[in-house]
Symmetry: C2
Subunit: 449 residues, 2 copies
């Protein structure tokens, strides 16, 4: 049976490995395209390592940049990045199947399983419908976002250019990429107090980061009671983490002259909200990240580490993993045998998976941090911020990225890639070896990793 | 049966809680004694928070100090610290039973269970013999160490004083306390190149930190084959971690003018060896900790986090916990269903415990770090170093301890206490709720936490 089950792999790769290879090919193509003479403006020739870094950052929808996107790249180069972001965000496999659908071909089991992995889905049923929905939802959301931003920016940039800016930043926000073409590494700091820009970007990145499965579940089951445990959990945690993030950033930056201190209260709130929401996992910044207090840096790092919902464009260990660990520790303190939530018992092997993913991630972050501590010349907080940002494919930086050594760039690029495909690979490996366990009570699955 | 099992508790405390209360009482008494006028030298009145910090540091055998031990305390005050270290190191319960033995009284089940917890022992058999052995072994080891140090130092300090110095530092080293009376927070930096001093201290702290259970097992089973898995694991890991620590510190500090660069090769090796061994968990330093490279700081933090063997004077998550996590992650990568080691299968609930202890510890460290990031004004590496040092009851510091705010002192004191009694409490709570599982293969327990 095991052997049989594996026979869907042609060239002996499991879906997670195929996804990795797909991403690698996409990064390779992107690197080549970005090195073309007309991809960069005059006197901005891109070295191989820089092109590789930029392509990896785009495909893995991270947003860390070694060069300023606006001043370095031509419109062609910028569109290459946007396309890499879009393909990376939709999931390489989803994109492959989308092409197949458009060409009118049937999708065999192999194709379905690949998407299943790409989206970290629980069931392989209705996969084609899901893909159609994902693509449609993505395009509609991005279009609405692009229009709002284009209208807002038409007074600043003039019409055709404002539409281009709207599309680029909408795609970047929905896919949680965090790339911007504002110039001088400014991100959206010019719009820190702009309600329209900040709220449009926030809405796009929250929707994109929450995971397609949640969106689909909400669409299918209009009533709150019918929603799956996974959906309820992700929605609740998104709300809680965004509120906590906002409150902590507001409190910790209130007196900081480098960030909120000199802003009117309305802008203080808007800035705190954006920086409470962005670390999971969009990579924009409306405040100067390098000026955040150490407390805010730590809050941001924690949020970046946790990330968003499974099966979306977000990175990190995922909110569900974090909740399970929280619940497991709480159960321990209360000396309870079982971990339960909202009237459901959580399977024990899921707890083990959550712990494994978390500890593995922390160990990995520490290892990369250790390498950078030797190759780079920067304080620990700046290094750790950069590593966690790469791991969670967040893209925020305290300013280290352009200063990285060639080795540092390679290591961070590797971390972005590992942060993107790693959790899916681990989840896949863990799911495969899981045996059939007998439980007494009703239980329900949650997606983690 | 469960109810019956709990009836050994008089006033409804479990052994772990009784241990905590015992430590708290000891800290309270120590605080009072250290605040006595004749405990400190002229013009060195100790504030309550400083006395509390020092007493906690001594009882929890940590070694972090807010005042310099030699210049602040009278011989009376220093002896109070030494006695607190000795009682803390032997374990409060062990000490209680030792008194009972000396008074010729029988030790009931309750007493035995308390020691079991205090030593994190696996079986309650032969407990009395164990306590006798522990006390005897401790005193003999300390006596030998004291004599060697006294002879070495007789030329520096003259005879009666060199014996006092020998005893103090031998007790401090064997109990992994890291307190010194060299003056000016110098620790043993004056003896960085002194083979006798460095090797004597290293030997004492390795033996003390390895855990009495290992020492007892080695004593009982002279042949390597008969040793328990736990013993073999702890010995092997102690060797590996000490070698790795030495190699990493040597490589990372070789060119550092603040530490090894200006020393002859022999002293470079000796310094690297001491700083590879000390973080688990002795708290002495022969090099200037504040001058270590960031890479060495991270290596030291990792070693401090791992700590020593269970049931000894060491802190940290313990080497066995670390190994289990390493093995679990390796099994995951190799897609193996079972975690095995040296031909033995490791029970799954032990893996879960190891993960729980690790994640809980990391979360706790992060929480305390976050508080200090707000209350203190120091860079992240210095803060994190301090927090992990307190958690692992190590006692190394990059110089922050005397600069801590009152809140910071309270928080670090709390962390030292939690680092000392926390892992035992968690291990106890986890062991209690463990059900009877059915396993197919021979398995063997290992102590963690
Ligand atoms: K991102
Ligand atoms: K110590």
């Amino acid at each position: 049976m095991r052997r049989m089950g594996r026979s869907y792999n042609w060239i002996k790769m499991n879906p997670a490995q195929m996804l990795s290879v797909g991403f690698l090919i996409l990064i390779g193509v992107g690197t080549l395209l970005l090195m073309l003479p007309f991809a960069t403006k005059d006197r901005h020739h891109l070295s191989f390592i820089d092109a590789l870094f930029e392509a990896t950052s785009a495909v893995c929808v991270t947003g860390l940049v070694v060069v300023d996107t606006q001043t370095t790249f031509t419109v062609f180069g910028q569109i290459v990045l946007m396309v890499l972001i879009q393909i990376g965000g939709l999931g390489f496999m989803t994109f492959g199947v989308l092409i197949a659908i458009m060409l009118g071909k049937n999708i065999g089991l192999k194709g379905r399983l690949m998407i299943q992995e790409s989206l970290n889905q629980l069931s392989i049923e209705g996969m084609v419908r899901l893909v159609k929905f994902v693509v449609g939802f993505t395009l509609i959301a991005e279009m609405i976002g692009a229009l709002i931003l284009a209208i807002r920016w038409s007074s600043d940039f003039g019409f055709p250019r404002s539409l281009y800016y709207g599309i680029f930043h909408s795609v970047s926000a929905f896919n949680n990429a965090g790339f911007d073409i504002m110039g001088q590494f400014r991100s959206v700091t010019e719009y820190a107090g702009d309600f329209t820009v900040i709220m449009t970007l926030s809405f796009l990145l929250i929707i994109g980061g929450i995971g397609y499965i949640v969106v689909l579940d909400v669409k299918r089951n209009k009533s709150l009671k019918k929603l799956s445990l996974h959906t309820k959990l992700v929605l609740l945690m998104t709300l809680i983490l965004n509120i906590l993030g906002t409150v902590f950033i507001f409190a910790l930056e209130y007196d900081n002259p480098g960030t909120l201190a000199n802003l009117p209260l309305k802008d203080k709130l808007l800035g705190a909200f954006f920086h409470g929401v962005v670390p999971r996992t969009a990579g924009f910044n409306s405040l100067n990240t390098g000026e955040l207090t150490l407390g805010s840096q730590l809050v941001t790092m924690l949020l970046m580490f946790i990330g968003g919902g499974s099966g979306g464009t977000a990175g990190g260990i995922k909110v569900t993993t974090f909740v399970l660990i929280f619940l497991a520790v709480r159960a321990l303190i209360k000396e309870e045998d079982e971990v339960s939530l909202m009237g459901r018992r959580i399977p024990k092997d899921l707890i083990v998976r959550a712990f494994t993913i978390t500890v593995y991630s922390i160990g990995f972050i520490f290892f990369i941090l250790f390498i950078l501590s030797i190759t780079e010349n920067a304080p620990l907080n700046v290094l750790l911020f950069e590593v966690i940002s790469a791991f969670g494919t967040v893209g925020m930086s305290m300013g280290l990225t352009p200063e990285l050594s060639a080795t540092g760039k390679g290591v961070i690029a590797f971390m972005m890639f590992a942060g993107r495909v790693g959790p899916i690979t681990i989840a896949f490996a863990l799911a495969r070896r899981k045996g059939k366990a007998k439980y007494k009570f009703a239980e329900e699955k949650i997606m983690i990793g």
